[in-house]
Subunit: 363 residues, 2 copies
DNA sequence: TCTTTCGGGACATTATATGTCCCGGATGTG
DNA sequence: CACATCCGGGACATATAATGTCCCGAAAGA
């Protein structure tokens, strides 16, 4: 397993420094694999089977031949002994590379989420992984952003990482808003601050939304009637995209200074995850709702993209609960959380993991 | 050390499958490294320092910026925290990649050889490594071959691997000759056979040179006077390039069925290496000469390229002896032999290994 | 014997890479 | 404070590489 960890580390470096390297390696692996299966085979036939063009395949084959991996004669192309041993060695590498893809597919199935991205590592073990979550989320946001979009963000260190890692990108006329009124946290992790940071990166505008904490429900309702507050709420609820973090229910309740008796209620009801001020049990059912103003769960349904970002094996239960409740379009998590979620699922359901059939005896 | 082995294995795969991209990784490492040293620095300055053009550097920097590794502002470019941590992680990887380069430089110094290529592995441990020696030697030969060249080859399994791995390549009008008259070995490892195989790959011609074994010195001298034999010797000695193997002296003597009293003489005189029928002690001094006809040691001096190819830790002593005696222009060996040669040298001279100063605490 | 598939050659078209220059802005120095 | 230098980003012309498509003779298969 140490061997696999070492290879993973190297592949992670390469994916950041020369992503083309990893892609090209996969491509050539596919060519070698398919060639092995069909040999002896001609260029046009193989190109057709692999859904590429004859010229592109010829270039690849010329290279593989030059490297001593492929032999060609009038009957067609075959792998050389060296090519076969390299193919065998590659099985192990591809197993590692495709491992992440497997996790993503399994999480989509188990959580009922449309899209999943898994980054290497575990936030609980290496804080850098949170930055990586931010990096991947930021680039996904850039992919989907359109001029005129309203983007809502929640607070927390993970969403702060998204703003921190966002590349400068000006789609035009973007508004960034906090998902909820300011809640008591370090200022840099508050939704207001994150909204401002993100807006700056996007060359857009931001809305600040300050509210006092822990008012009664009637007090909040009264505030909501104030024209200025109402207008801000209107703009916030116009968001087409939301990026939100996920909290562990009890930890979050404590951080929010909920009274002990309310925390006791949460525990009694089996709360495990929190998002948007809602507390969910492991099945995704709302078991508590914190009073505040901002985005409501119902508002998410009309959005183009709901992006959940959270990692760390300790948050696996929370992620599962919130994902089931919120059904985000995209979940971005890390490998530590992903494995824990799937392990818990197997424990709950007795499902056996589907081992990936890898070529040529990969370990 | 297991970690390093795993990374080495993966890098070896990549160097064969995506060599250009491994080079790109090295290049980007150099850029990150130099940028780290000089930051904040502008593009033109860095391009100058790194002996490249402003446009090429801009392309690289744009990419590194996109990957979150570099930050740019009006004062110049700097590494981001992520860039710094990647640079640190790369130290270990570059240590592995450049390890071979270090070995090559050390061998050049210790053996007094002009050029050295070291391939991964140890022939003694993995027979595939011999094929790799053949692969690298064949491609070196292709680099230096010119139309009209005469190439001499010795016998043995390693030189046979060169012919086996030689890509088809027709420089024109090439003659391949055996370095010496046929000596008793399996026919496919005889210089005659190897000459024929290589000639076929090169679209050239070959010369066969059969001689009976173990004649007296006078008998060989008499044969050398025969017009046909003399003509062949003339053509053989016209060789501009020779590819020769290296044998362990005593093992070779036994294989050549030398009488026990002659083997005792070899042992008494400290023979360790054999090439071209000459037996050398560890300092490279001739301690015995086998009677035969073909290339003499003196003939090598006028050649454009003398290529020695041998591997395996068990041949380290032989390689050292022959390299010192023959002073090949190019030595192609494996890592097992290289490390053993350098370890023996340290033991002999008390030299401490010069640790490569690697950046950022690479292990 | 005929048909199909083969690798290799070739050329036109498209895409990418590269060299070079220049702009306004920021920084450093006197 | 003014001037010189260096900065990143923009831009365009040129060079190089990649790709699509077609065709040849040879070999293999039916």
């Amino acid at each position: 397993m140490q061997r696999e960890e070492a290879m993973k580390d190297l592949l992670a470096i390469e994916q950041r420094l020369v992503p083309d390297l990893v892609d090209m390696m996969k491509k050539r692996f596919q060519i070698l694999r398919k060639l092995y299966d069909l040999q002896p085979v001609g260029r046009r036939t193989l190109a057709q089977v692999m859904d590429t063009t004859e010229r592109i395949l010829r270039a690849e084959v010329d290279f593989l031949k030059e490297q001593g991996l492929v032999a060609v004669d009038s009957a067609g192309m075959r792998l050389t002994p060296l090519g076969e041993s390299l193919l065998e060695a590659l099985g192990e590498v591809m197993g590692i590379l495709d491992g992440r893809a497997d996790l993503e597919r399994e999480l989509r199935r188990v959580l009922g989420v449309k899209a999943v991205r898994v980054v290497a590592g575990d936030v609980d073990e290496a804080p850098d992984v949170k930055r990586e979550l931010g990096f991947v989320t930021a680039r996904f946001l850039r992919e989907i952003l359109r001029p005129g979009d309203v983007v809502a963000v929640t607070g927390g260190t993970t969403v702060a990482a998204v703003a921190g890692q966002m590349p400068v990108f000006h789609p035009g006329n973007v508004l960034v808003v906090p998902a909820r009124g300011g809640v008591g946290e370090r200022v840099e992790y508050q939704a207001n601050t994150i909204a401002a940071d993100l807006a700056e990166k996007l060359g857009g505008q931001y809305l600040l939304f300050h509210l006092p904490d822990r008012l009664s429900e009637e007090a909040y309702r009264s505030l909501a009637g104030e024209p200025q507050i109402a207008e801000k709420l209107r703009r916030i609820r116009r968001a087409g995209i939301v990026i939100h973090g996920i909290g562990q229910a009890i930890a979050m309740a404590r951080r929010r200074n909920l009274p002990p008796e309310e925390i006791a209620v949460l525990e009694a009801r089996g709360a495990v995850g929190e998002a948007f001020g809602y507390y969910f049990d492991r099945e995704g059912r709302i078991v508590y709702q914190q009073h505040t103003l901002g985005l409501r769960l119902d508002d998410l349904g009309g959005m183009r993209s709901v992006i959940a970002v959270a990692g760390g094996r300790s948050k696996a239960g929370a992620i599962t609960a919130v994902a089931r409740a919120v059904a985000p379009h995209m979940l971005i998590t890390d490998e530590g959380a992903a494995r824990m979620i799937l392990a818990a699922h197997r424990q709950d359901t007795g499902e056996e993991p589907v081992e990936r059939p890898t070529p040529h005896g990969a370990r």
